[in-house]
């Protein structure tokens, strides 16, 4: 009953914010897809943070920390705290300015216009879709697993997934980017505050921080230090550091939000506070999983994705614990909405090339994408962490083009296409273990190969494509 009330309040609020945001806009494609390029520091910060944090952090990371311990924190959180803001500077900042000059509304459109290459625009859309749809599946699965957990199985996973998709789709199609950005302010605040408070309350419920840690030490002391495993070898750790850092700027739903930033100052302010928010989110996420290993031993494989909901249901006051599901919902929807919007906008702008009623077409594409994601969420058997890892590796293959495209005038369309094709080929062959990786993860060599291909082919095809207007 408490969950139902919390859920109803949450849905009413996000839909209300979405509808209210819609009244502010002027119904132009720029307003619908980019909020008129007017997101100030606070809204931009929460839009980026809310979009970045998803079921992967609230469900996947506790699930992984359940097996791997605090090492999960070290291999992920510190490097993204530094790397994401630096990528905002390296790629996001020039991309925002270039998008304004070229009148681009989507990441694929930005690079299509910069290189004057329709083929590149279509390729970028295809790769973005290839990795974004699985990433969306992790969000829906994460929310559905949590809802099933907190209701002791009373709500089947498919019902939870359907509800999440429907609500996110509703306010996204109504209000576009402005609606998703403002709902992200509410959603990001909700799940960040929840995680910090839940962290303290769970520790108290377990007998205090010392007792909680002692229980883990008694259960499995290796959870409190670096574990053995491919991710924690020097090669694996180095590879993953590059991958997890560069993947975020590879998310089209992140890059498009940077393009919607009002000013350079807004981006700089976001970059200052971003690592603090990540610290506040990741420490609780990892420790909930680590404590959960001692509190609920015996969860095998992807069953550990349930640990966040188990800990919320059993180690938080009932009323507050029911907010746990709402927090996961908030994290999930704040990413899903951005993904629905950016994929549908790219379909409209880069595949169909701006039909007469672009906003209406974008809304219908949003519905179609949501249906595909929902079907995959109930048929795809892998864990949230596994699916997210696949998507993250894929996004990294775009990093050389995203960087060189906005920072190196001599980069050509042929070089960009070669980079994406070669990078994805190496990633696929490495993942299938067809070629040797020499102790590194496939994504590392995919990044190296993609960068070399972009540089080499651009040199050979020099002078056949750069658009001066993009850099003036």
């Amino acid at each position: 009953m408490t969950i139902a009330i919390a859920l109803a309040l949450y849905v009413a609020l996000v839909v209300g914010i979405g509808v209210a945001s819609n009244r502010k806009g002027d119904a132009s494609p720029e307003d619908y897809f980019l909020a008129g390029r007017g997101l100030g520091s606070l809204v931009l910060f929460m839009a980026l943070f809310g979009t970045n944090a998803t079921a992967f952090v609230l469900v996947g990371i506790p699930g992984r920390a359940y097996h791997d311990g605090v090492a999960v924190f070290g291999v992920n959180a510190p490097i993204i705290a530094l790397g994401i803001p630096l990528c905002f500077w390296l790629i996001g900042s020039p991309a925002r300015r270039m998008a304004m000059r070229l009148g681009a509304l989507t990441p694929a459109e930005l690079y299509r216009k910069r290189f004057d290459s329709r083929a590149l625009g279509l390729l970028l859309f295809a790769v973005y879709a290839l990795y974004t749809i699985p990433y969306m599946v992790t969000a829906v699965k994460g929310a559905a697993v949590t809802l099933t957990g907190v209701t002791d199985g009373a709500v089947p996973q498919w019902v939870g997934g359907l509800a999440v998709m429907s609500v996110a789709l509703l306010y996204t199609t109504v209000g576009g980017m402005r609606a998703t950005a403002w709902t992200n302010v509410f959603q990001g605040s909700l799940f960040l505050v929840f995680m910090v408070v839940a962290f303290v309350l769970m520790a108290r419920s377990l007998g205090g921080f010392e007792a909680a840690t002692a229980a883990v030490a008694a259960h499995d002391p290796s959870l409190l230090q670096i574990k053995d495993g491919p991710l924690y070898t020097p090669g694996g750790w180095t590879s993953w550091s590059f991958a997890i850092t560069l993947t975020v700027i590879g998310f089209p739903h992140m890059l498009v939000r940077l393009m919607a930033g009002k000013s350079e100052d807004a981006l700089r302010t976001v970059s200052r506070y971003y690592p603090i928010a990540l610290l506040l989110l990741w420490v609780p996420a990892v420790m909930i999983g680590v404590w959960g290993a001692a509190a609920f031993p015996g969860l095998e494989g992807r069953a550990s994705d349930r640990i966040f909901s188990l800990m919320s249901a059993n180690h938080l006051p009932t009323a507050f614990g029911s907010l746990g599901f709402v927090a996961v919902l908030a994290a999930v929807m704040s990413t899903l909405d951005a993904q629905i919007l950016v994929l549908s906008s790219m379909l409209v702008r880069d595949v169909l090339r701006a039909p007469k009623d672009a906003v209406r077409a974008g809304r219908w594409f949003g519905v179609a994408i949501s249906v595909v994601v929902f079907v995959l969420s109930i048929t795809w058997g892998s864990s949230v962490f596994e699916i997210a890892s696949f998507a993250f590796s894929g996004y990294v293959t775009l990093a050389p083009v995203l960087f060189l495209g906005v920072r190196w005038r001599a980069c050509t369309a042929q070089g960009a296409i070669a980079s994406i094709v070669v990078g994805n080929l190496v990633l696929a062959l490495g993942t299938a273990k067809v070629i040797p990786m020499f102790g590194f993860l496939p994504v590392f060599w995919a990044l190296v190969a993609g960068a070399i291909a972009a540089l080499a082919v651009s040199r050979v095809t020099e002078g056949r494509g750069p658009v001066d207007a993009a850099f003036s």
Binding site: G74, P78, A81, L82, L86, S241, E264
Partner: protein, 67 residues
């Protein structure tokens, strides 16, 4: 001259932070700090606070508002 020094500090800071992140020499450490914080976690948190300081410097002195 000042700009060159700021850029040098930014480069050196980034390299030092990255090197400290690749801390393979430390190996697994079972110690607890303050009796309940795993040493591995404490090291990473302190590193992140260093990254926060670095980014404040970077956004103030290297990343110019008129870029």
């Amino acid at each position: 001259m000042v700009r060159r020094v700021e850029l040098a500090v930014a480069w050196i800071g980034a390299i030092v932070l990255f090197a400290l992140h690749l801390d393979f020499w430390r190996g697994p450490r079972p110690e607890l700090v303050f009796g309940f914080v795993p040493e591995e976690l404490m090291y990473r948190v302190v590193w992140m606070l260093g990254a926060v300081a670095y980014l404040w410097f970077f956004t103030a002195r290297v990343w110019r508002g008129d870029e």
